[in-house]
Symmetry: C2
Subunit: 415 residues, 2 copies
């Protein structure tokens, strides 16, 4: 039996035990993990340095090296995250419904863990800690499959977490790292229905599509966001400018940042110059169709990919539309079901937009940047679901649970 | 563009419109469908006769011919089912949560349709009507992919349903039959993520596994049930006998029927003869290990498949176990996460069983035959989910919905 199957089997065997751990036991483990991370930070930083050196040698760009890099401050953040998860309500055992049927059967619907969760992610070592903490709090075992470029960091972090768990009642195998980062092993993981209940990919669209296309295990699809801001005819000028700029530039690298701005013709006639000026000021490169580019020579000509893909950068696609319906049609064609906003003072158009645009979150007069577990008040999140099954939008602890019916009788048989 | 892609694209294009249909519009369509089915029953029966004749020619056994066959009474049942679905509460538009964040954003979580549902099923023409009615009530478009052996019946039923919809405001394309029943087209359907939101297979384990193994679209896995009745040391004799016999024989062909009876050693010493006698009386063939077979020569020797697979017949696997823990271990090894029961008067053992057995429904002192949408009070069901994501146990209308966040602001931007 190879490493993957062995660890997956071990995880599966643990599920009953983990599901019965008390809130106190789980919180004690989370706090122990927080403490141990800080205590062993120099070990983690030294191992992380190996990944950074290898990354530089392999020509990773500065952005990727930055994502990979750990510092004392970042380790302190991870420890803080663990403490916050300890403070979240424990979802396990919660009774969601209880009712008695005419035949006397009492039916209770209770929250239970999902079981074994396979996390598949890229070179962000903080995901190792974040995912482990949320999975543990929801009573699950987690199999971590990170990127080979972060393997030293991930091994070090998991070793430290294990030393933390050894001081508690939570078995170390609740958190296991798949050290073999080959593609073959990943492919095997995606089809390990025997032991794994759900896969959660976290990363770019390439990674997510690889998992969706190859998995036979159910997948919680997260996070590609080709988000739009639609500025309606009646939009308040100051509000529209402020939201468009915020959604695009407050943090361009994240999935809830805006990638396309759609502007109603009438509003554009009055205020487009100002919108363009303010985007220029923020160093945002604008991509548009030929008509608009004729008016603004500094624009780039948009290709199909400019409408369809995320920039995650100081770039934005800009389009003038004749009606709210045309804006909705554009979003329906190019959107990725993540976060979409309308800025408008016309309630009829707002209603149409909120009801007809298909997305996890639809906004009126606010920035798409709020689609986030903390901003919604759910606490830490495992990702943002852009699919319609199980969980949609920011996924907190509840998304890591399932339910079970307890049916209590006194001899009932079916007539 | 082939038939499948054309119909799937048409379904996808309809989703916004269907999601906005009122309860009255949807109910009017359901009642029109009920009426039209009865009105055109001789046409449906004549077409069904062609499937029956082909089935006999192809050597289908009596059970399969029976599943395939329609009668006036069965058509009346389908019409009755449609009327019942019309009476169910409309889940769409329901507000599940509403809260206001410190920054003034109001967040509403509302129920919305899933979108396009692909139903993949075997030769039961009633599924054509049942699935269509539930999908329609929950605001979804449905693509029906039935078996080639029921193709005449399915075409006739869908033609009749279309004539019913033409009298209403619901477009006929809300319900579409994929007439090409080739394997290639099924394989293409399983990967049509562009247009289809979820697949629901309904049928035997072969069909379900084919969908799970080949789909890239999320699957709602339904219904294989290798269900166990565990009779504990302290079980009331009469109750245990009554429940075991009911769970096995009240309707052996369904997924919530019992397939294995586990008996505690002490109870067995006292009452096993009686259990065997009563099963014999009901013509149930018993499969056991060699030890038990030595005591009861009329038993058959159980193979691995007797413990692992569904009989769906007057057959049962029987095993004596030393402890409740051993019963739980056996179920954990062979169960299919469907319905599992303990018969016991010892609360400690009941607690252990209910908490440790991993299944959609765990029973105390009742027959597993109650795992059913009607018995749980949910109304008609689209199937019984045995997976942990999205929906678990009997799936009614709510399982055919998703949610969406409406985020309402007055200019909020992220700091």
């Amino acid at each position: 039996m190879n490493e993957l199957r062995e660890k997956a089997k071990r995880a599966k065997e643990l599920t009953t035990e983990l599901g019965l751990k008390t809130t106190e036991e789980k919180n004690a483990a989370l706090l122990s993990m927080a403490q141990q991370l800080v205590k062993e930070q120099s070990f983690i930083l030294a191992e992380n340095e190996k990944d950074q050196a290898a990354g530089r040698q392999n020509g990773l760009n500065d952005g990727l090296i930055d994502r990979l890099s750990l510092t004392e401050a970042r380790i302190a953040d991870m420890a803080e995250g663990l403490k916050q998860v300890a403070q979240l309500n424990d979802p396990i055992g919660e009774e969601l419904e209880q009712f008695t049927r005419p035949n006397g059967l009492t039916i209770r619907k209770v929250r239970v863990p999902l079981g074994v969760i396979g996390m598949v992610y890229e070179a962000r070592p903080n995901v190792t800690v974040d995912a482990s903490s949320l999975c543990l709090k929801a009573g699950n075992a987690v199999l971590l499959r990170g990127s080979s470029s972060a393997i030293h960091s991930n091994k070090a972090i998991v070793a430290v977490l294990h030393r933390a768990l050894e001081k508690t009642t939570i078995p170390t195998a609740a958190i296991q790292l798949i050290e073999d980062t080959s593609r073959e092993t990943a492919a095997e993981l995606f089809k390990l229905n025997e032991f794994v209940d759900v896969l959660i990919p976290r990363g770019g669209s390439g990674l997510i599509q690889t998992v969706v296309q190859n998995a036979t295990i159910p997948v919680l699809e997260t996070g590609v966001g080709n988000c739009h801001i639609y500025i309606d005819e009646s939009a308040n000028k100051e509000m529209a400018l402020s939201i468009a700029v915020n959604a695009k530039t407050q943090r361009p690298s994240v999935c809830n940042a805006a990638e396309t701005i759609l502007v109603h013709q009438t509003w554009a006639n009055k205020h487009l110059n100002e919108l363009v000026a303010i985007l220029n000021e923020k160093n945002v490169q604008i991509y548009s169709d030929a008509l608009l580019k004729n008016m603004f020579p500094q624009f780039q000509l948009a290709t199909e990919s400019d409408w369809a893909d995320e920039y995650l950068d100081y770039k934005v696609a800009l389009k003038v539309v004749p009606t709210v319906d045309e804006a909705i049609r554009h979003i329906s064609k190019y959107g990725t079901y993540h976060s979409e906003a309308i800025i408008s003072e016309t309630s009829e158009n707002v209603e149409a937009f909120l009801n007809q645009v298909d997305a996890a979150a639809v906004y009126h007069n606010a920035s798409t940047r709020f689609t986030d577990g903390f901003e919604f008040g759910f606490g830490a999140e495992i990702g943002i679901s852009t699919q319609k099954l199980h969980a949609r939008g920011p996924m907190g602890l509840e998304a890591l649970t399932s339910t079970k019916f307890h049916v209590l009788g006194n001899g009932q048989i079916k007539k």
